[in-house]
Amino acid sequence: MKLSKKTTGRSKSTGTGRRNLMVRFWHVLVALASFELLWVAGSLLKSRRVNRDKAQGSSHLIAAGNVNQFKPGEVKGIPQGGFYLVCQEDGSFLALSKTCTHLGCTVPWNKEKQQFTCPCHGSTFDSTGLVMAAPATRPLDYYPLKIENGEIWVDIAVPVKRDAFASFQIGRS
């Protein structure tokens, strides 16, 4: 291509230079347009999300039962909240999210082995939600809870992420 242009004696003519500029301008324009389209798509998706987040924010505290329904060491799934209520050996309570921190599968509690094992990629967690086997890298999320007159109240608005176990994650009567 280049060679044939040279032989016709139009090499380095301002014509091609101007054409290159036009082409470049054209490319920039296309890139801008695509970027803008993406941005519009993103903001449309975002408006849809805002609607749902508002709807979700309405439910906060749910009652998960009374302290004397639980024995120390017991782990019980609370279906209406999508979490596990763990009664620890010292009688304190911890509300653990059912969602595996690896990629979001629901982890079942294995009573014999006293651990959670994820069916999707095999991550295992102990009864406080700490990682026992990869590929998960974070402990299970928890929900803040408080105990009033023996009633356990769990705030299921947002699961809280954590890197380790700490005493403020639990509730005592």
Partner: protein, 427 residues
């Protein structure tokens, strides 16, 4: 447009000649050059568009109705089930055929020179095909669909910086729900088909612009023979179209597309497996630190294949499979090595390393080190092929790609057939 009756009768052939030149090189009609794979893929895309449009009439994209609407397609006496079967099997076959088309383009060295931009368009098409299949997978809202989409959207959250924002955008909130189905429905039935058709027309135009399919290097100095597109090429194309259509229609008449139990957010199936074309990636997820399996490795692979036509100066013989016998032997040896190494590594990791739990340095020992290790193995293979087997750079490249693809295929096989409950290895 058509002014006379004669003109009107030409409409079909003038359409054909918009996509084809009037004459083509005789040697490119050889079935064993292309195996008609591109044509098969194009046929499947058209079939998918037609059956997809028809399904818009019977499917309801709401989470409380989607599953039911699919079940109702299978009412006795109706054609809905047959249409869904065609759409399902054509989609799955398209992944296979597109992959083989990609292989043939690579192995006959038809991706360099003027064809290199078409190679990139092709890669984009391949990604679109996989993503189309994947978004379609969610539509029935059964257990498979629900958990596949949960896992996939969570995977996005490991992308640095934009990840979690991207995840909530696609899900339409923190959890998978009705907005997620609505978004995926829009992507599957609107955005992807439009992009696909546009890219395909561009793809065909670029094939024509490059002067048709790849030819062998002309050594004899005689001008290569050219013959009329109609009937020689058109007849062959019609044959391929009929072949692939009859296969799909017959298969769909006999075998129903699978439908699992209705989605249940409270319980993941055990084992929860992705669609078969993602099982290689899922297997990788078991072994690698998440952000490496999800982000680093796929980007490296994509970058490698995009760069491919721009790297090597000296290519293997064009239009010849593997560039000749030596290339074929190289590819076989490298492929066997890739397969063996993959099975060995998976076995070692599963028996000794995986149960060690996670530590602060997981990203290093389960991420960076194995990734660099794999790259080094491929580089080593390249130098072995060049130095010891005296290959040209292009021939060695075929070996490296063969090793990589066989490794990826092994991961897929392990994931599909050798993983049982809780993803433990089973024989």
């Amino acid at each position: 447009m058509a002014k006379s009756t004669e003109n009107r009768s030409l409409t079909f052939s003038s359409f054909v000649f918009h996509l084809h030149p009037p004459k083509v090189h005789a040697e490119t009609l050889r079935f064993t050059l292309s195996f008609g794979l591109g044509g098969m893929a194009a046929t499947l895309v058209v079939l998918l568009l037609v059956t997809g449009l028809l399904q818009l009439l019977s499917y309801s994209p709401q989470i409380d109705q989607a599953y039911l609407s699919i079940q109702q397609m299978y009412q006795p006496g109706g054609l809905g089930g047959f249409i869904r079967n065609c759409h399902y099997w054509a989609g799955n076959l398209l992944v296979v055929i597109t992959f083989f088309h990609f292989l043939r383009v690579f192995l006959t060295t038809a991706f360099t020179g003027p064809r290199r931009y078409n190679w990139i368009v092709g890669l984009a098409l391949f990604l679109l095909v996989v993503f189309a299949n994947f978004t379609g997978y969610l539509m029935p809202w059964d257990q498979l669909a629900y958990w596949a989409v949960t896992i996939f959207t969570s995977m996005l959250s490991y992308i640095p910086v934009i990840g979690s924002e991207l995840m909530t955008l696609l899900r339409g909130g923190q959890e998978v729900g009705s907005e997620t189905l609505a978004t995926f429905y829009a992507i599957h039935t609107g955005i992807i088909p439009v992009l696909m058709v546009v890219l395909l027309l561009y793809h065909f135009w670029m094939v024509r612009k490059a002067g048709g399919l790849i030819k062998q290097e002309n050594t004899r100095g005689v001008a290569p023979a050219r013959i009329a597109t109609h009937p020689h090429l058109v007849a062959r194309e019609v044959a391929v179209v009929c072949l692939i259509l009859s296969i799909i229609l017959l298969f769909s008449a006999v075998i129903d597309a699978p439908l699992g139990a209705e989605a249940n957010p409270g319980q993941s199936p055990n084992p929860a497996k992705a669609a078969w074309y993602f099982m290689g990636l899922q297997e990788l997820l078991l072994h690698l630190y998440p952000s490496f399996a999800i982000c680093v490795v796929p980007l490296l692979v994509l970058f490698f294949f995009i760069r491919l036509p721009f790297g090597v100066k000296e290519t293997p013989a064009k239009g010849v499979w593997f560039g000749g016998r030596k290339g074929a032997l190289n590819a076989a040896i490298s492929g066997i090595a890739g397969t063996g190494l993959t099975f060995f590594t998976v076995l070692i990791d599963d028996t000794f390393l995986i149960r060690k739990g996670s530590s602060q340095l997981s990203w290093l020992w389960r991420g960076l080190v194995p990734t660099i290790g794999c790259c080094l193995i491929l580089v080593l293979l390249y130098f072995i092929l060049v130095r010891i087997r005296k290959c040209s750079a292009g021939e060695a490249q075929i070996g490296v790609v063969s090793c990589f693809l066989c490794g990826a295929a092994s991961l897929t096989v392990i994931g599909i057939w050798l993983r049982g409950a809780e993803m433990a290895l089973v024989w």
